[in-house]
Point group: C2
Chain length 457, copies 2
């Protein structure tokens, strides 16, 4: 512990400088104009891995954005840890709400402020530096592989095929991921469950051109009015989803497990205050943490149509659009849900409009058992750095590729997240506390030590 603490203390500023070079690359995977930045980020990661001590590192082409893979094999018989992280980030709109340039990181109030500061450049980079320490101090007792992808924020469409193609290269005993949060800086936790995801874009077309709302209003279906009514029909007044068959495969979590979950410290008052809402909203019969942890959801992520400029333009628009997502819980099949939604949404469309539903992407949910050797090693590592046993937590977020790893490579993942709920990932003013960044670099080497022990080495 003391040695890694000293190492972090000595190299603090260099770690930040190097991370900032990575953050400055605006690698937004959902916007095609940033394609060149994806290649820059991939090359930067190759440079980072080689500098940290990898034997080799390469940028691989995929059907989409490139992947950077690097490795250091110390002994074919040693246990192998594969670190997974992503180099891509979310868009930064609305840009006006950022207090600083999203791609020019600054340190203020003990935090790094930038897009990707946490998700997932900051968290991913901790692994490179923990690895560097283990190599430099000659304490590395596992083989290490790094798989850094560039499409996580758009649902990792190309990675499953890449995994199938490079199955042998990607063999490992466990996949280690830092892309989640812990409850609080003094309440360490490890994510043991992730929700699945299904995401659609819908288009409602009324007349074939924008019309004068006076001359045609009242006689022709307005696609915005219709879209609103259709969206309204998907959930009841308590947020319960009305798509026939939607809950069929949901396994109710036992009362016992719900009681355990309820022990995580949580203040509804503080939660509401932190979001500036008077009341929370969600499915009846479940607590706030249950609503995000063990229940599926329906959220419209975006909506647009008609006149959205300044002032009052009267128009009966031709089209209205929405981006719609559901979060899914273990045992719900996202492909099945995708079809159920399309069928339902088309079935509720009035004949006065045309409706087009496009399934944009989805991914399965994931559960990590707490008796997994790698989970136990992670728990020990956190306990040593944070002084408390981490709480196993089911997160509401989705990392579709984690379930795919299990399916395609047969490898379980351990989600050693160091983010905080206040990091504003996916939002303006994303940030990552320096303390969490450095604690991550301190915790990860301990994981390797205990994992090797658990694996009998």
């Amino acid at each position: 512990m003391q040695e890694i603490n000293n190492y972090v203390e000595t190299h603090k500023q260099r770690f930040l400088d190097e991370l900032f070079e990575l953050i400055r690359i605006p690698s937004i995977s959902s916007l095609p104009e940033h394609k060149p930045d994806m290649y820059r980020a991939a090359e930067k990661w190759k440079e980072i891995l080689l500098a940290a001590g990898a034997d080799k590192a390469e940028v691989y082409e995929t059907d989409g954005n490139p992947v950077t893979y690097g490795e250091k094999i110390i002994d074919p018989k040693a246990p192998t840890v594969m670190v997974y992280a992503h180099m891509d980030v979310m868009p930064v709109d609305p840009v006006g709400l950022w207090k600083t340039d999203p791609f020019e990181p600054v340190v203020k109030e003990g935090k790094i402020w930038a897009r990707g500061a946490d998700d997932d450049k900051g968290q991913g980079f901790m692994h490179a530096k923990a690895f560097e320490y283990l190599v430099k101090s000659e304490k590395l007792n596992c083989n290490v592989k790094f798989l850094i992808e560039g499409e996580e924020e758009v649902g990792s469409p190309s990675l499953p095929k890449f995994c199938k193609k490079h199955k042998k290269m990607l063999q490992a005993d466990v996949i280690l991921v830092s892309d989640t949060s812990m409850i609080a800086p003094d309440v360490p936790s490890i994510t043991t469950g992730l929700r699945g995801l299904a995401y659609w874009q819908v288009e409602v077309t009324g007349p074939d051109k924008d019309l004068h709302s006076g001359l045609f209003g009242g006689a022709v279906a307005n696609p915005i009015n219709v879209l609103a009514k259709m969206i309204a029909q998907v959930t009841d007044d308590n947020g319960r989803i009305l798509i026939p068959g939607f809950y069929d495969d949901v396994v109710e979590v036992s009362r016992k497990e719900r009681n355990m979950m309820a022990k995580a410290p949580f203040s509804l008052e503080e939660y509401k205050k932190s979001l500036d809402v008077k009341e929370v909203f969600g499915e009846k019969g479940y607590t706030t943490n249950e609503r995000t942890g063990i229940r599926p959801t329906f959220d419209v992520c975006g909506i647009w149509g008609g006149y959205t400029g300044e002032g009052a333009k009267t128009v009966l628009p031709s089209r209205a659009y929405a981006k719609i997502s559901t979060r899914l819980v273990p045992n719900q099949d996202h492909n099945k849900i995708a079809k159920l939604f399309v069928k339902f949404f088309e079935s509720i469309a009035p004949k006065s409009v045309k409706v087009k539903v496009e399934y944009l992407h989805g991914g399965p949910s994931y559960v990590c058992p707490i008796d997994l050797p790698a989970y136990k090693a992670a728990a020990k590592a956190y306990t040593e750095v944070y002084g408390k046993t981490p709480i196993p937590v089911r997160s509401g977020g989705s990392i579709p590729i984690i379930a795919t790893f299990e399916e395609v490579l047969g490898i379980k993942s351990v989600l050693m997240g160091f983010g905080l709920g206040s990091d504003a990932i996916h939002s303006p003013n994303e940030n990552y506390p320096l303390e969490q960044f450095y604690n991550g670099i301190r915790t990860i080497p301990l994981f390797y030590r205990y994992f090797a022990e658990e694996m009998g080495r």
Copy 2:
């Protein structure tokens, strides 16, 4: 008739060239960046009026965009006609759907294609040329005033005050307006009723920042989900408006008048085909023409919120917005309706969100009796040019200032429109048939002749 026909034939190209100079000024009143263009348009109209034979013409400042006023007084005892038109136009978005530059008019397929080609530069300009003819041919037997405003498309907010201030200057026996349509090139009609308008912008705020839809989805109200549900509650499945008190002041139109209206030629099949819709939609118990002519409506003119870019960004947005309008029929008070909507919309907001409703603008409806001397003069003029008696029609559109003229100046308006339903006003590819443009210039001088006769001169 022959003389005006000859005049139009001789000056055809010059009329177009002059009109195009006016159209090229992008005088979009709803966009503040076009403020300088409003002044350019006002100066252009001054030039047009003076060139056509006005004794004087001036650009007047108002609280908003400028007004151009010009006049020719031939005899204080002669009847006075005031021409009202507007120099401002609607925005041109979505620009991508225009086949030609909206502000570079072209003639193709016998039509002028440009923003403002019909509404209201093309139609307004006909009056300048009809006036020019009457002056040049020394046939002018009425005093003529021109009032050209620059805020019609945003609800004429400054003109009522301007009218109150210049009451004496604006005295007239009738106001003549070409800002409406006729049924078809071979079915002349005169608009005898206009719907009123009320227009709001609503803002629904959930959490105070955009959130990760996985970490918070299902536990915090999504403002887009909520806005959709709120909009859905404003109308029933047949488009009937559910705002309490909304229909209280609507006077049901008699069966006799509805039977007369039903005589206007109309093919539902062609109507549907022209809009590419399988079914029309509207209030039960009313025909398509009744739905736009004599019934109030509720249309969302615009909606936006969350992620609207390419691909799949998951987000639980902080805010969602909509621009909402109702068209009102005679006897409905737009100020009363404005309040009813605000009260209703706030009352249906769940406690998990904050709702802000802003009343952007509104205007009363209008009815023109068909025994008005000016109406009779207009009917005779159309009959002479088109060979058929025009049908009196109630239009679904709104020209709020027409009701204000009656209220403030005590003057009735006659709506001699030459537009067609296919002119795509307020839409991409606005156009105006040359034949309608020239027929307007032929018809208007006849109105002056018959109006003077009706007025005993």
